[in-house]
């Protein structure tokens, strides 16, 4: 993302009446929300509440699943991205998805970081090197990794792999970052480092984080959306949702009570 991107709080992402089915299972039921530019939204909810399905729909990963069906509207900067008119590969470079389990490719660390750029058609070695260094610096890996860039990425520690995947996403200059429970496989120290990285990134990107970690959601997000069985039951400013939830189910969820 370039530094001169407008600092306005215009709507970056607009989701309207989004439905996702896996075969006959209705996983997301008419979800609508908006994400202002450079704001961070946390999606919280129990397992199976539809958080990951929403993120995958935004990234159009459901296109790869023959059993999945998506209906509704997703607009980025006012332009519809569902349907055949939008190129999924281009969309995925604009809307990067980072998984909970590091999606490291079986390539060297360097090739992992520049994978998206090469797929985009960038061949100039100096441009690739520059993008690699910048991306790794943004995820606090450049100092430690610059001498081992040719090492197989799969042999790196898990937290490095996760940061490498974030660097790969950043290298293609995305506009929106989607994190699907990014710290779920990390130890507390590594999770803390990841939070620090996200805190830096939220200044420059519109971010959606689906997380089970309520502390992470409270610390990172501006807006929190609580989902139950594929439906939004509460949405609002994070502080308000966490301190004064209006829905009993949200109150129970935050308190760790089953209903």
């Amino acid at each position: 993302m370039t530094a001169d991107r407008a600092a306005s709080a215009e709507t970056k992402l607009e989701v309207a009446d989004l439905h996702v089915w896996y075969a006959k299972r209705h996983a997301v039921r008419g979800v609508s929300f908006e994400a202002p530019e450079r704001k961070t939204i946390a999606l919280i909810g129990a397992t199976g509440s539809g958080r990951s399905s929403i993120l995958r729909a935004l990234n159009r990963l459901h296109d790869l699943d023959a059993t999945a069906r998506v209906e509704g509207s997703i607009k980025i900067d006012g332009a519809e991205v569902l349907g055949s008119s939008a190129d999924p590969a281009v969309l995925r470079r604009r809307v990067a998805l980072i998984f909970g389990r590091p999606a490291t490719l079986p390539l060297s660390a360097y090739d992992n970081v520049v994978f998206g750029l090469r797929a985009k058609g960038v061949r100039d070695r100096s441009a690739l090197d520059a993008a690699c260094e910048l991306s790794l610096r943004r995820v606090l890996l450049w100092e430690t990794m610059s001498s081992v860039l040719n090492q197989p990425a799969l042999s790196l520690p898990l937290d490095w792999q996760q940061r490498l995947c974030i660097a790969r996403a950043l290298a293609v200059d995305p506009e929106i970052l989607l994190f699907d429970d990014p710290a779920s496989r990390l130890d507390p120290v590594a999770a803390q480092v990841l939070d620090d990285i996200l805190l830096r990134l939220r200044r420059d990107y519109t971010i959606l984080v689906a997380t089970n970690d309520l502390h992470q959601a409270a610390r990172l997000s501006d807006v929190t959306i609580h989902l139950v069985d594929g439906e939004i039951v509460e949405t609002g400013e994070t502080l308000a949702v966490f301190n004064r939830p209006t829905d009993a189910r949200t109150e129970d969820f935050l308190a760790g009570r089953a209903w």
Binding site: R92, T104, P106, L107
Partner: protein, 296 residues
């Protein structure tokens, strides 16, 4: 140490009898197979070594140089199209993002295709050729090409199925990761799937070579019966006599007398050595092509 002692661990007393019997059976079977293969190699080597006729002649019962060259010629004609077609079809069947509807149709077909005897497919291709008078005349004129066409048809389904299998063995999460990074299907395929599947791809090609080496015999014999083309090596440019055909001629067609057995043994030896060399080359290539990043 006896077989039973090898098969039984120290705490055999606590193991069920069926498990012990199964272990014994496995050991006995393995030993029988190894001994049989070793005996075959020794017999063939003893009988064949002194009878190898290296003279390059084009008469039907002289030398194997012509047979080797003919084998290479048929392989050279049949392998490239077979590999190209089956690789593309395998990719379409393995990668829904590339193959789309055609890929799904191929994948469904491949559930049944490889179970068909490959010789039947070769015969079907031959039938199509001989049913057409113009094509049949061209077969008479170019038996090498006809043999290659039949071999391609014969190997296509099984090679396609094998290519699909090795491509599908690449973990799907790497595909998703590549797509999520913004790679179009073709970049994902050549950037992730092909490098990871390369050892398997090489193995499929080598299997194809081995299969074609063996099946040229059946093809050439059927061709000669059905079209009247003489698959004996009167002239290299006219009639291919690949090594398996040469063997067949020695043992069954032109030499019913026992005196031709040593010559046949020598040719079998060469065929075995050729297959062992192919296998060795394949293993070396597969190791060299194994991509870095296998790691944890």
């Amino acid at each position: 140490m006896g077989v039973s002692a090898l098969a039984m661990p120290r705490d055999a007393g606590s193991r069920p009898a069926a498990q012990i019997a199964g272990g014994l059976l496995a050991w006995i079977s393995a030993i029988v197979v190894v001994l049989a293969v070793a005996a075959l190699i020794v017999i063939v080597a003893r009988a064949g070594w002194q009878n190898i006729v290296w003279v390059f002649e084009t008469e039907s019962d002289a030398g194997i140089g012509a047979a080797l060259v003919s084998t290479l010629a048929v392989l050279g004609l049949a392998l490239p199209p077979a590999i190209a077609l089956s690789f593309c079809a395998g990719a379409a069947a393995a990668e829904p993002a590339i193959g789309a509807g055609a890929g799904r149709f191929l994948a469904a077909t491949l559930r049944f295709g490889p179970s068909l005897p490959s010789t039947a497919l070769g015969l079907a291709a031959l039938g199509l050729i001989t049913a057409n008078p113009a094509l049949e005349r061209s077969v008479q004129a170019n038996p090498l090409v006809a043999a290659a066409i039949v071999l391609v048809a014969l190997n296509l389904p099984i090679m396609t199925a094998r290519f699909r299998t090795v491509m599908r063995a690449v973990p799907p999460e790497w595909r998703v990761a590549a797509f999520a990074a913004g790679a179009p299907p073709v970049s994902m395929f050549f950037g992730v799937v092909v490098p990871r599947a390369m050892p398997g791809i090489i193995a499929v090609v080598l299997h194809g070579v081995g299969q074609m080496l063996g099946e040229t015999a059946a093809v050439a014999i059927v061709l000669s019966v059905s079209t009247g083309v003489k698959f004996v090596n009167h002239a290299l440019t006219f009639a291919p006599a690949p090594l398996p055909v040469h063997l067949w001629q020695r043992l069954a067609v032109g030499h019913p007398d026992p005196s031709s057995a040593p010559s046949a043994a020598s040719e079998t030896l060469i065929l075995l050595v050729a297959i062992v060399v192919l296998r060795f080359v394949g293993r070396v290539l597969a190791r060299r092509r194994r991509p870095s990043g296998a790691g944890a």
